[in-house]
Subunit: 277 residues, 2 copies
């Protein structure tokens, strides 16, 4: 496994890779969710490149950039075991040199949900991912369904800008009690961790209501809200039932819908989602 | 010479090109300025791709999109003579399908000069050029020095986003009386056309002052302004002496400077520039 820290070396190494390249961009502190993407990339491609980069431009000044969890050695040993070919691990200076001035934005699709709570977040995400796509030039790239809006936004960017790759979205990986795996779960106190599966429980409730014929979004959201409010440590940032492509809020679910939410436990903000239909 | 109208066909044709590809993006209504870029691309590459697309997103609603001059047959015959391999001639629907939502912006560098007079212009330019780069995947791409800020902005975008190509900037091509070639020169009435060389004359004045040791930007700008105001049909939009990389206005010229201007003759806006030093 090669570890590369500069863009120039990554580009040179990329030229030497023959056959299809699968790429998994990460912010490190890897868990089974990331590894499921790396495995999928391995199944579908000749070579696998994983990037580890905690991208500052997707954090607001009030957010957790400086305390975002990091453990490079553990990450590298996990990636080595998965047969990763190249780990790209650049510095901030390498990615955003003095005078950096170019931004990629997806407009309407980044306004609701996560974008509403984190207005500068997706501009950072699309910019770094665009750069990484140009540096790594993957044939296929892998994102988790857990960050549902992010996956849609990346797909939209790749399509709109005619980028030469396929964006593959992989299922959310969960703890045995249903909590979606996330690097941020480490922030939870033992008490908060006990309450955190309420996100998954409320999604299962939505699924159950939908499978019994409920199509009124307000009714489903109402019952989910009641359930979440029973968990005293949980504070709702948003719960949404939206169109799976445009992310516009739905009143009535026709064929399908994205049920998604952000719930705060203290300062820790957890997100989860499920597609109905 | 192949003429291609869809992105899918252009991408397929690109895959068949062996060796380096030179790319000249244009809005058509070609003149010797464009052809000098096509020739340079031919000298430096195995294959040459030229795009003809009047990009609506770089025109403000008040600007000349609908009356922008077009003559496809003439363009094609000129390109054929130059040995162009592929002409990419997409429709608006192909480039900006329903729901198009992604934008590439260069921030600070697009604020002064042209960006100050045309605040949405460069967002359109960088977005279309980014798309065209992804579709054509050139090794080298050719822009004219006449649009000095555009050339800098494209270079900045390509560098910041780590795009895999080289941006080559070629000298301005001029009419015998010094007027920079431009598709928009066709708008000029015979009287306006007679006065239009005042842009070039004022640049030559700046060059002369500089070569005689003048380094005070205000002095040079003052004399240029006086000269231009002698031309009764000319209305100054801006005249600038700026840093050649950041485009920040200079008080004193140290090593080099970009002298640039936009001058209106009736509704027709002409631009020109020169690098001192």
């Amino acid at each position: 496994m090669k570890i590369i820290e500069t863009i120039a070396e990554m580009k040179a190494a990329r030229l030497k890779l023959k056959g299809s390249v699968g790429f998994v961009p990460t912010m490190g502190y890897l868990h089974e969710g990331h590894l499921s993407l790396v495995r999928k990339a391995g199944e579908e491609n000749k070579s696998v490149v994983v990037s580890i980069y905690v991208n500052p431009t997707q954090f607001a000044p009030t957010e957790d950039l400086s305390k975002y969890p990091r453990d490079l050695n553990r990450d590298l040993s996990m990636l080595e075991k998965e047969g990763t070919d190249i780990v790209f691990f650049p510095s901030d200076k390498e990615i955003y040199p003095q005078g950096y001035d170019t931004w990629v934005t997806v407009d309407k699709l980044t306004k609701p949900l996560e974008g509403s709570s984190r207005p500068t977040h997706f501009r950072g995400v699309t910019t770094i991912v665009n750069k990484l796509f140009n540096i790594v030039r993957p044939d296929n790239t892998y994102f988790g369904q857990k960050d549902a809006q992010q996956a849609l936004v990346i797909k939209k960017m790749a399509k709109d800008l005619d980028m030469n790759l396929k964006v593959v979205v992989c299922p959310t990986v969960r703890e045995p009690d249903g909590l979606a795996m996330s690097s941020r779960n480490v922030y939870l106190t033992p008490e908060q961790r006990k309450g955190a599966p309420v996100l998954y429980k409320s999604l299962m409730l939505a699924k159950d209501l939908f499978s019994h014929g409920e199509r009124n979004a307000a009714v489903i959201l109402g019952q989910m809200t009641t359930l979440i409010k029973k968990e005293p440590l949980a504070n709702i940032d948003y719960i949404s039932i939206a169109d799976t492509e445009t992310l516009e809020e739905l009143r009535t679910i026709e064929k399908s819908a994205l049920v998604s939410m952000a719930i705060k436990f203290g300062k820790t903000r957890l997100i989860d989602n499920l597609i109905l239909g």
